[in-house]
Homo-oligomer: 338 residues x 2
């Protein structure tokens, strides 16, 4: 039998453990896996594009576990009350090829994206950072706020969205967070005085969410929303005066903010900063950018965390996804014998 964690059990688990604890523990799994980056079998995601969106498969493996995530991106879905992004994933045993765990990953992806942002900022932002600006108050925004509060000690938020309904949803969800929140009418006003800026807008192509004049020295930019070909949030001039950090360069050059730059635009791989092989922030004046697009190892870490967390609990059930005949060569008998 294969373990199964569906939507209901994932929600129960996160409520039981507490979302800040989940984000902290998940961040540790993600950081551990970045630390052993060379052990992973890595490939850019496999995308199937259609008129209204894309469906992607994101596989990776180490020498013990194989994981993949199925994820779609359909910006028009919200008009019909559907999610822009849905996801699920599977973790398998490399030695037998048998699947071990099937899990919903729409919620888990929201958690891992925020945890990854916080891991990167922990290594790249100024240690005295207390004020976070968030531009874009969609589904990912509260996860970002909570992760930066839990992992970096952020105390103040300055936030902005063009849609008042999104802003109100954010305000209600964050009202008991312990964070001081300033609702700003424009992105320009939101970023004033911020130590860290998260851009996480959706459904806009080659937008300029941040322009060069808005970015002062010492800021860390967590660029989350620019994550597919033709979708960017930062003016190219910002990239030129910043140090840019990425997950998997082969994928980021296609999907990230640096798709605006020449192919040889210098970037540093985040895992090398984490292991100490490469330098992160060098001075308090550096502008650092985490050009995040989301990589398969982060989903692998999330599935690995989930598997450990639900073991021997009732947050996991079993489904009969794999046949178990008495004689492995006798599938036919299963289908025909009484």
């Amino acid at each position: 039998m294969v373990g199964y964690v569906g939507v209901e059990n994932l929600i129960r688990l996160v409520r039981h453990v507490g979302i800040e604890t989940v984000l902290r523990e998940l961040a540790d799994y993600i950081e551990d896996d970045f630390r052993r980056w060379p052990e992973f079998d890595k490939t850019p995601r496999i995308a199937s594009h259609s008129r209204d969106g894309v469906i992607e498969l994101m596989p990776t493996a180490d020498n013990a576990l194989y994981g993949f995530k199925y994820v779609n991106g359909h910006p028009r879905n919200t008009r019909e009350g559907l999610q822009t992004v849905t996801a699920f994933g599977v973790l398998s045993d490399v030695n037998t090829g048998y699947p071990l765990l099937l899990a919903e990953m729409t919620l888990l992806t929201a958690l891992r994206t925020a945890a990854t942002s916080a891991v990167a900022a922990r290594h790249l932002a100024r240690p005295d950072s207390r004020i976070l600006a968030i531009i874009g108050l969609g589904a990912q925004s509260e996860f970002q706020a909570t992760a930066f509060h839990a992992l970096l000690g952020i105390t103040h938020l300055r936030v902005c969205d063009v849609d008042p309904a999104a802003t109100e949803k954010f305000r209600v969800n964050m009202q008991n967070s312990g964070l001081t929140i300033t609702l700003a009418p424009t992105a320009q006003q939101a970023v004033q005085g911020a130590d860290i800026i998260t851009t996480v807008t959706a459904d806009k192509l080659q937008a300029t969410i941040l322009s060069d004049n808005m970015i002062g020295a010492g800021v860390h930019i967590n660029a989350v929303g620019g994550d597919c070909p033709g979708k960017t949030e930062l003016q190219a001039d910002i990239l030129k005066r910043s140090r840019v950090f990425v997950e998997f360069p082969e994928q980021t050059r296609i999907e990230g903010e640096i798709q605006q730059m020449p192919d040889d635009f210098p970037v540093t791989e985040l895992w090398q900063v984490i292991t100490g092989e490469a330098q992160g922030r060098r001075t308090a004046q550096d502008i650092t950018i985490f050009d995040s697009v989301g990589f398969a190892t982060e989903d692998f870490s999330a599935l690995r965390y989930l598997r450990d967390k639900v073991r021997d609990t009732d947050f996991v059930t079993e489904i009969d996804l794999v046949v178990e005949p008495d004689d492995p060569r006798d599938l036919f008998g299963l289908l025909t014998q009484p």
Copy 2:
């Protein structure tokens, strides 16, 4: 909610409908999809190799549905009483990216492989074929026998395996099939007088299951077992005097019998024979070979068939693989609000 057909329900469905009917109906779906081959988004499968095996993802899509199969191949698994191959798959809506159906595919793959073999033979074997030789009596063998009986009117089997236990399992499973069965001590004796030869051995690398002197004029060879790099069953000399038909040349040149041949070895694509764009068998003396490796569209056809077949029945259940919040932008509220 996402539809789910696990092992138990697939077994119930096939027993309810009858395996010959399932194979016939499935073959029609497979043939229909071959007929509209240019409509599919096609890519070679994405493989992750490890010491003892491989895990693969096989995606494809038309303009309405997206499907993928997860499948492993671990030859040593049988030593521990496990399946060499396990599989599951998902069918999704291209317009929203939402998954529609999750299904076990270990059994479904066995069915679709046999149905595909029969579809190919229907177009390539001599119409008066009555005698089928099967070399290799593993998990796929009875499916082959049943599909050729149901779809081509095969009446006689000549079969062979080096393992007496496999032979006995085959004999028992086929005893009420209505087929006349001759157990042959060697492959050479099994193929004598056969109109069609299916090779479906496993766990042997670059074996010579069929040598050139064993193959007479007019035979159709259904080469199923040679399906990954380094694994072949036919002596190269047979290929040189035969007309070779394949599913997706880009994949077959890596995985099929023709991996033994130069890159420009001439092959004909099966779908073109089915549409009439290319000629199949030209004379009763031709040796035809279907160099089958299994392609993503066949799994897509199988998932499409299964979805249609279980609709509004109790052979399908629902699982909560996709989150359905009231507000698609409010995932956070689901995890934190009471």
